[in-house]
């Protein structure tokens, strides 16, 4: 009997198990998580969960019964030590061997850590897991001064919820504007102004030189910011160690083909860890998103079931900060022109990015209908004329249905 072993139970890992069963896989499925909790969703941790709107139960992917009734052998609190790709088994740190016909690496990514002179300061905390979130939640109860290093999605989501809890919040960002890596200036500006107006202090183009034991965060300018809680969200590093040690080709993640296969054909990689050629970005990259994890999981599951359907899904992402709901579709990096639809001053608008006359991505701020429509335009390869985008009397839904 065929046996699929999945390492990692985030969005990708859970989806691959679910898709295999949904599509009729009758072999064994083993789903391994290093964490002790039932598999849960990570995006709410920096949003609804820490805001108290979602609970440990409501963020679960599935009930415990689901795994039992779908014959998914869920192994919690199990750490894998190595992969033996020649004899098709993996070993746990306790020496147990688990054999496989197909192995799926859904190992995700780890937080990049702040280091000064090669050393990690002890009093800086990061958010990745449920237990991190619970710990941060507890600290936020008593902290007054919260310093957040990193003005990306996670840092800013944490900043917003700390401000909402009445904390004095300072955000330190090394780039010249917020979320610079992924967003254009016009959107960075809306977020910057909102954070300031809500009461956060935001340092742009600022560098942290060191962190004192008393919690002072020292900037390169010499300024020392006192704090009683320091959180950092400064990017991630893909979890490739198991793959590398097994001789699987890795380069900024685990390199996969369009069917999610690694350099060893019966070993797949999906989600944050997978470096793939993305048809929307027209280059190799890793995407850290729910969409990417879920759709790559479906691609891998289909291939195991004998269907070669290359990964070709429109990338989409989102962030919530205060009342700002930003939804991103496509990959807008490298755009040469953009068109705004709606009024930026109203806080409800979308930006359509073009490259060489073709629509490559759309960011929608508090415009969910535009976002869903944009995903359809990108999926169908429809490139509306820029005048059509500007024309608010024209329904974008028609652009999709006409074609």
């Amino acid at each position: 009997m065929k046996k699929v072993v999945v390492i990692g139970a985030g969005h990708g890992g859970v989806q691959v198990a679910a898709s295999l069963r949904d599509e009729g896989f009758e072999g064994e499925i083993v789903l391994i998580s290093e964490e002790k909790e039932l598999p849960y969703q990570k995006p709410p941790l920096s949003k609804g969960f820490l805001q108290g709107k979602q609970t440990e139960v409501s963020i679960l992917f599935r009930s415990e019964q689901y795994y039992v009734s779908n014959a998914i052998d869920l192994r919690l609190g199990v750490t894998i030590a190595s992969i033996n790709p020649k004899e098709n088994y993996i070993s746990t740190v306790n020496g147990e061997k688990i054999d496989f016909t197909y192995l799926i690496l859904a190992t995700g990514a780890a937080n990049r850590k702040l280091r000064f002179d090669g050393k990690e300061p002890k009093n800086v905390y990061y958010l990745r897991t449920l237990s991190d979130a619970k710990w941060i939640g507890q600290q936020l109860e008593s902290a007054n001064n919260v310093v957040i290093v990193g003005g990306g999605f996670i840092g800013l989501e944490l900043a917003a919820l700390a401000v909402e809890k009445g904390k004095k919040v300072t955000v330190i960002e090394a780039q010249s504007r917020l979320m610079e890596r992924v967003l254009p200036e016009v959107i960075s500006k809306v977020f910057y102004e909102t954070h300031i107006q809500k009461g956060a202090k935001v340092y742009l183009g600022a560098c942290v030189n060191g962190i004192q034991d008393n919690g002072d965060v020292v900037l390169s300018t010499g300024e020392a910011l006192p704090s009683d809680l320091i959180l950092a969200g400064i990017g991630v590093i893909p979890e490739t160690q198991l793959a590398k040690e097994a001789g699987i080709i890795c380069e900024n993640g685990i390199v996969v083909n369009e069917l999610q296969q690694t350099s060893i054909p019966n070993i797949y990689a999906i989600g944050d860890v997978a470096n793939h050629y993305n048809p929307f970005a027209k280059k190799n990259l890793r995407l850290e998103s729910v969409q990417n994890a879920v759709d790559q999981a479906k691609t891998a599951a289909a291939h195991i079931l004998g269907k070669a359907v290359p990964y070709n899904a429109v990338p989409w992402f989102w962030t919530f900060q205060y009342h700002l709901k930003l939804q991103m579709a496509g990959i807008s990096l490298g755009y040469d022109d953009y068109v705004v639809r709606g009024d930026t001053a109203s806080g409800k608008f979308s930006i359509y990015y073009y490259k060489e006359g073709k629509l490559i991505g759309v960011d929608s701020l508090n415009k969910p209908a535009d976002h869903l429509n944009a995903r359809k335009l990108l999926e169908l390869g429809i490139h509306p004329a820029k005048e059509e985008i500007r024309d608010l009397s024209l329904s974008l839904k028609e652009l999709v249905s006409v074609s």
């Binding site: 949904d22 995006p43 689901y66 879920v294 415009k367 969910p368 209908a369 869903l372 839904k397």
Partner: protein
């Protein structure tokens, strides 16, 4: 606990008791009701948890926020007068016995 009946497109029905305050989407996902995808995990971001609600319960539902209304417009299956996004509807005692249908597509 209030109970809910989910009806999948192939007619399979699931009668489930849900804790007060749980969303209809959470109940579906955790209990393996097919056809409710909920890609975004209940953030009103993806419109893949679309349901049709039993007409009898329509006036007992929480009113629809603008956000949900806008997202619904982008749902894949036909949007009807009894369409809702199940991540935005929380179980209450008033909804005890509610029946919801899963659309053909999400």
């Amino acid at each position: 606990m209030p109970s809910i009946t989910y009806i999948e497109t192939n007619g399979t029905s699931h009668n489930i008791e849900l804790p007060l305050g749980a969303t209809i989407m959470e109940g579906a996902i955790q209990n393996d009701v097919k056809g409710i995808v909920a890609e975004c995990g209940g953030s009103c971001m993806c419109a893949t948890c679309h349901i049709y609600v039993d007409e009898k319960f329509l006036d007992k539902l929480p009113t629809m926020e603008e956000e949900e209304q806008e997202m619904l417009e982008g749902a894949t299956a036909e949007v009807k007068s009894n369409s809702r996004l199940s991540c935005q509807v929380r179980m209450s005692n008033e909804l005890d016995g509610i029946m919801v249908r899963v659309p053909e597509e999400q």
